[in-house]
């Protein structure tokens, strides 16, 4: 058989070639995107840089929430609480004990990871809507807990805590806004890589198996209880670090910033961005950061009515979230890709795909 020619004859092989070419395109595109993202802060005004930085912290929080809801099939209406715990951990550490903000990110992650894991244990018993209620209870409890008299000295009570703006370390030629932009971007990228590896490995497959068919998963020997609690923990960890980052970026924490509304906003971002998708977290973050401003620009009288219309519209046009929509667009584009340019390239490709024969 002529290995160089045989694959082009079958549909499956054509699709395989297109996927390979698409992957090359994708890698180049991602690289280009990263370059643009790194250049942006130097051409945008500081205010836009600030907005983008906030969007990155939301993306990190949504990544956590997505792990739980999209990849593991559990539910949470209370991730705002973990965000708050992370933010306050950072604020108290910086304000009370003068600890460097870099360490607070680690601390917030650990604290929230443990808290999430512990919450995940009783959550095993409760399913679906009832879990929604339990997590909602957690979100509701946050503002009063943060204001509580007994630890007012640490949390600053209703007045909140104010943090000074960190400057770029090692004398880098960045202003504080640009430094925070790159810090948040860096943390987000690390989280994306971690999440990607997690999801592509055994843990990820176990998580998704639990989501798709918990009984079969259990039957196959997956310790569902452990994985579900672990997922809760990891999810809370990501969101907690996001909270700590947001505290550093906004420079202010106050109990009423972390109301139920925040938890609902995170859920909205997760679903609109696209569940079960890492890029969905990023799309969703930009949605919840920028669409309210767009709605405000459209109507001063009833901006949230416009926002509600956006929500319904997005769900109608993109039932798989923005990520789902993008995937559909991408696969359509992929089908238009030409099959081969030169015989040499094709041979190289087919040599790889036919390595098993």
């Amino acid at each position: 058989m002529d290995t160089a020619n045989a694959p082009t004859g079958t549909v499956a092989a054509e699709a395989a070639i297109r996927r390979d070419r698409a992957r090359t395109w994708r890698i180049w595109a991602v690289a280009a995107l990263l370059v643009v993202t790194c250049v942006l802060p130097f051409v945008m005004g500081d205010y836009r840089v600030f907005q983008f930085t906030l969007a990155f912290t939301y993306a990190l929080a949504l990544l956590g929430l997505n792990l739980l809801i999209g990849f593991n099939g559990q539910f949470s209406l209370g991730h705002g609480a973990f965000y708050a715990i992370g933010a306050y951990t950072a604020a108290v550490m910086i304000h009370q004990w003068g600890i460097h903000y870099g360490w607070t990110l680690v601390a917030a992650g650990i604290v929230c990871g443990v808290a999430g894991f512990l919450f995940g244990i009783p959550a095993l018993r409760i399913q679906g809507m009832y879990l929604a209620l339990a997590t909602l209870a957690l979100a509701l409890a946050m503002p009063p807990l943060l204001k509580y008299k007994a630890w007012e000295a640490y949390t600053g009570g209703v007045q909140g805590i104010f943090i000074n703006k960190p400057h770029a370390p090692f004398g880098l030629p960045l202003n504080p806004d640009e430094w925070l932009y790159f810090l948040s971007l860096g943390v987000l990228l690390i989280a994306v890589v971690v999440a990607h590896n997690l999801l592509n490995g055994r843990t990820g497959r176990a998580m998704m198996a639990i989501r798709d068919n918990p009984i079969a998963a259990e039957a196959m020997g997956i310790n569902t209880a452990l994985y579900k609690s672990l997922t809760f923990g990891v999810s809370a960890l990501f969101t907690g670090v996001a909270g700590a980052l947001s505290c550093i970026v906004v420079q202010f924490v106050a109990p009423d910033s972390y109301s139920v509304f925040l938890s609902i906003t995170l859920l909205v971002g997760s679903v609109v961005g696209g569940l079960a998708s890492i890029s969905g977290a990023i799309y969703g973050a930009f949605f919840i950061q920028f669409i309210p401003n767009v709605a405000d620009a459209i109507s001063k009288a009833a901006p949230w009515a416009i926002y509600g219309l956006f929500l319904i519209g997005f769900m109608f046009v993109m039932p798989g979230g923005i990520a789902g929509f993008m995937n559909m667009v991408w696969s359509r584009l992929q089908r238009q890709l030409p099959l081969a340019r030169r015989r040499g390239a094709e041979a190289g490709h087919t040599g790889r795909t036919n390595s098993k024969t």
Partner: protein, 413 residues
């Protein structure tokens, strides 16, 4: 697998880049020969959206001013953004106003936590944070924060006035306090306690003759009802009730007190003295005898029925803000504070730099606005960043359906 449609995302980012660049021009801050840009942040949505009407009144006032020719030939470009009473959003909007819209100053940003979030930023950037819409006492800090100034009488001053009244008029009072568990409520509470101590000491009272706080009950804004807190307060045996509540909860509280057959001497904070929004829903009989303070004229007060300034205000509302309520004290508030800003800008003349505007804001001498109560004047100086420090006590007459002022106009002490 990471699936990213990089091309589309790239295009999206490119679009945002253009947007970002568009706002990048550096101009003289907010002022041209024909225009002054004033920034403003208000909660048009969220838990404090009831106060959004203040921003709308102010916008309407500036519209009227522009139609009458503006100030020194310049029109006011009033740029107002919604922060939903969320401090992170306030930070975002403040940065947008300062860095993208290049406003001259930010006027009447509303709320204590929200203003706290941008306090440092405004002072670092040296942009006036003028006449903030909150009565927290911390804004009067010309040394530490020379770019921030309040406007309304601060909550602690008001609470001290009530404390003094109790000490002077109700010997051995047992005091119950109902307060909202947030910055505003706690500020009043602190002021009341401090005022109580100070007045008891100066009156030389002790033992049974000295008024005591027998119970404090707080509530969260997210609670549907505060009935149980009122019941607890009644059961504490208090004969004085200090009501530190926002309008909706004030109405609920006053009504519940009456429904329980309890008749303490009630004090109500100035934030909730609207006859239409609080006293009427609570019941005119139930509200009889409640003591509060005032510095603005209430549009429903029978005393001002034929008053020229209120008539003028009504005309203004009907022409420029017809959707606004003619019964809302908030709308008189907005109207009055807008006039204060206009005075500052007039005093600055053509020298409209941020430094000079701040200097003139600290240079208001006996400035009167006709919708303020007679005798109340606005005064500021480089060491006094509290424009209004006077209030007058008033008692609600249920039969007349009006607040009756008594005593003289009290100053800060």
């Amino acid at each position: 697998m990471i699936k990213r449609n990089a091309t589309v995302l790239f295009l999206l980012l490119a679009g945002l880049l253009v947007l970002g660049l568009a706002g990048c021009e550096k101009k003289t801050p907010g002022v041209t020969k024909t225009e002054i840009k004033i920034g403003h942040i208000n909660p048009y949505s969220g838990p404090a959206s009831a106060y959004g009407t203040i921003g709308r009144t102010e916008a309407a006032y500036f519209k009227m001013l522009n139609e009458e020719g503006g100030i020194n030939g310049r029109k006011i470009n009033f740029i107002s953004y919604d922060d939903g009473y969320s401090p992170p959003k306030t930070v975002e909007q403040a940065r947008k106003l300062v860095e993208q819209d290049n406003v001259l100053l930010i006027f009447q940003s509303l709320g204590t936590p929200t203003n706290s979030a941008i306090w440092q930023y405004m002072n670092d950037k040296k942009v006036p944070q003028l006449f903030v819409a909150t009565g927290a006492s911390k804004w009067n800090d010309p040394q530490g924060h020379p770019w921030t100034m309040g406007w309304q009488p601060n909550y602690q001053t008001e609470a001290k006035i009530y404390a003094r009244y109790v000490v002077q008029n109700i010997p051995g009072a047992k005091i119950g306090i109902l307060y909202q568990n947030d910055d505003y409520g706690k500020d009043y509470l602190t002021g009341f306690k401090a005022g109580l101590e100070a007045n008891i000491a100066s009156a030389g009272l002790s033992g049974d003759k000295a008024p005591k706080i027998v119970m404090e009950q707080s509530y969260e804004v997210s609670e549907p009802t505060i009935d149980s807190e009122v019941v607890n307060l009644k059961n504490s045996g208090a004969n004085v009730l200090v009501n530190i509540t926002t309008p909706k909860f004030a109405a609920q509280a006053v009504k519940k007190v009456a429904d329980l057959g309890w008749h303490p001497t009630q004090f109500l904070n100035n934030v909730s003295i609207s006859i239409d929004s609080v006293m009427k829903p609570a019941g005119l009989d139930a509200s009889n005898g409640i003591i509060s303070t005032a510095y603005l004229k209430d549009p429903d007060d029978a005393e001002w029925k034929d008053d020229a300034s209120i008539a003028k205000w009504r005309e203004f509302m009907q022409k420029y803000y017809p959707d606004g309520s003619l019964h809302s004290g908030n709308n008189v508030f907005g109207y009055t504070v807008a006039q204060t800003l206009v005075q500052v800008l007039k005093q600055a003349g053509d020298n409209l730099t941020r430094e000079n505007v701040m200097k003139e804001a600290a240079n208001l001498k006996d400035f009167e606005v006709s919708t303020l109560l007679p005798g109340i004047k606005i005064n500021t100086s480089p060491t006094d960043f509290a424009p209004i420090e006077q209030m007058q006590l008033q008692k609600f007459d249920g039969k007349k359906g009006a607040w009756v002022r008594f005593g003289e106009v009290l100053g800060a002490n």
